[in-house]
Subunit: 382 residues, 2 copies
């Protein structure tokens, strides 16, 4: 397939945007990306979204947003893979450009979640889990992750406090990201004393939902001269939706498979990754993602945090713009925020949390408790 | 992009399948397609679905179905474009194979609608319309189409009875399709006396919903020897979702644009199309689709029906397996039923409704009242 590059990016702050509709948020991010690229419209639009049919009563977001942003008439479609929708849309746009079906593709992740009461959103989010075998039995999405975290702590002997560095790092980095939802530092003591949500997951293990949109414009790499950011690796893999059906509930097999394929495509090994925007919906997911991608032995990922290796100046910086934990998790948009953040790092635009000489960045977006996982590797090339 | 061929197809009957879950229906169609192709699993799965998040409480159908049909681990994703979801998934699978990202792609359209009360499904279907400007004002989906039909009759001077041939043809053809939902002939008198739904649309202008799944397996054409069915044209275009926002509410601009592009790719003119599986969700949509695709002058499509040109032995056979009207309209699956039906015609498997020497077939799938329209042209090649 022909190489594809990212020519423009855009994003809104993740927040409770009660004054803006879904399409207004989408427009903000889309216009920013189009403006950076210096074009008015792209050939095609790929929208990642999970909840609009349920929460906003709106399907067919492709056509809906294409018209709103001045791309009337163009090809447009929506892609859904629960919280992995953003990266899934990115991969769909990538394939359209790679196949020569579009000379430019705008990919947009968007979610509007905070207009509804909390219990409505909790129900809507549960559609990411198995309706028959999990949700019908009364297991909520955070409950599922709590079961996984408890088993992990039991199996490998970690205490809850050992997960603190993941959240502390995310919060510390978000302070310097104007697009993040949360801008406060947290301490290890606060992490331990935070309100319990579903034992052992407390408020500071969990990412906050939010409204937001993030976008990127894709074009054939051959059209660009000078330094450019190319999509060097892109892969998607799946696992069972129901966690109990997995042979190894503590191993993200779809993260392993998609990362392995992305490494091979990009021609890099894990130790050549300069930064990793991982899917820390809950602190336990940070650990599982790091292990499946080859950055830590099984059961040993909390060590990376405790040893200070995941900060922007550590050996493997993660969540450099705040991650899901502090930038916020507008579910169907999250995967596109991660892509945008990797681009910002490769461009050297991240100020205090800039990773020195970042040339190769990885983003991993997870749908459900690991059922759909997409891994992308971006490179800055001369 | 490299040429892509269809190696296997499968479908379930469209019906009220109260004894089968969504994934069981999906499995029936998927296994049939995989069996025809002589393989156990494909590299990737693309699922077209509109209503599962709302009606079944299940998102992430890609991973959900991949696991169920024995494609555990493979890339899988869901595509949504309202009632155009099926063809949109087909196009996504096509791009994956064309881009070289998959050597085989299983595309599946699936919908399970009849387990819920009618008013729940009516609300769910309304998510295809504009939530702010149409649905919020109380306009249902059939109501929107009724407004369009009334305007068309006023503008061009047709009577309601003039639309009868579209429905009569669809019902006559469905009798010979074991996968169709309705198997009864209808007469012009019945068409005129049927119960009113939303004036001027009565029960026999409207397609019935249903549960069903249809699938096709895509591979690079170069891998096949002998006669094969290739995807000669594929295009997608959009229009505003809200009908009132269109410059010409009686012209399907997205049908025109996508058909034009598909004709150019396939190197054919409208008069070279041997059969046309069009999106007759309501009889008025048959007329608008025929006009936008160049088969009739604006306002003149009912003439084709009245002159007997749309039957299997006419000049332009449409809905040869029953169309949405009589095969049934399991919304997110419909686009894949159309593809499967064109393949059956090109293979000469349609018995009484077989179009003689069919070599070039077209399918057009519509999301909303014309907001997302995909046109595919398939060819049987030596």
């Amino acid at each position: 397939m022909r190489p594809v590059a990212i020519l423009g990016i855009g994003q809104t702050q993740v927040d409770e945007h009660w004054d803006k509709s879904l399409k207004e948020l989408a427009g903000e991010a889309a216009f920013a990306a189009l403006n950076e690229a210096g074009i008015k419209r792209a050939d095609a639009l790929f929208v990642g979204n999970m909840l609009a049919p349920i929460v906003d009563g709106q399907n067919q977001l492709g056509a809906h947003i294409a018209d709103w942003i001045g791309m009337w008439g163009s090809e447009a479609v929506k892609i859904e893979a629960a919280c992995g929708s953003g990266a899934a849309a990115f991969r769909a746009g990538l394939m359209a450009v790679a196949a020569g079906e579009a000379e430019s593709a705008l990919v947009l992740g968007v979610e509007k979640m905070t207009d509804k009461a909390g219990h409505d959103v909790t129900s809507a989010l549960a559609t990411a889990a198995d309706a028959d075998y999990e949700v019908e039995q009364g297991v909520s999405f955070v409950g599922l992750n709590a079961l996984v975290m408890r088993r992990y702590m039991h199996e490998y002997g970690w205490k809850h406090a050992d997960f603190a560095p993941f959240s502390i790092n995310a919060h510390a980095n978000a302070i310097h990201n104007p697009f993040a939802r949360l801008h406060q530092k947290i301490t290890a003591e606060q992490f331990e004393k935070s309100s319990m949500v579903a034992t052992p997951i407390n408020l500071l293990d969990a990412s906050p939902i939010g409204d937001g949109a993030a976008a990127a414009l894709l074009v054939p790499a051959e059209k660009l001269t000078g330094r450019k950011i190319i999509v060097a690796g892109s892969a998607s893999a799946t696992d069972t939706i129901a966690v109990h059906a997995r042979r190894e509930p503590l191993f993200l097999s779809a993260a392993y498979a998609s990362a392995k394929q992305a490494y091979a495509q990009a021609g890099v090994a894990p130790d050549e990754i300069d930064l990793f925007e991982l899917h820390d919906a809950f602190s336990i997911m940070s650990a599982l993602s790091l292990e499946a991608c080859g950055f830590a032995e099984r059961g040993q990922a909390p060590r990376l945090g405790l040893d200070g290796e995941i900060t922007p100046h550590g050996r493997l910086p993660v969540c450099t713009r705040g991650g899901l934990k502090a930038r916020g998790h507008p579910v169907g948009a999250t995967g596109m925020y991660q892509i945008v953040e990797v681009v910002q790092q490769l461009r050297g635009e991240c100020g205090v949390t800039q990773v020195a000489e970042a040339r190769v960045g990885m983003a991993q977006n997870i749908g459900g408790s690991g059922a759909t996982i997409l891994t992308h590797i971006l490179k800055s090339e001369p």
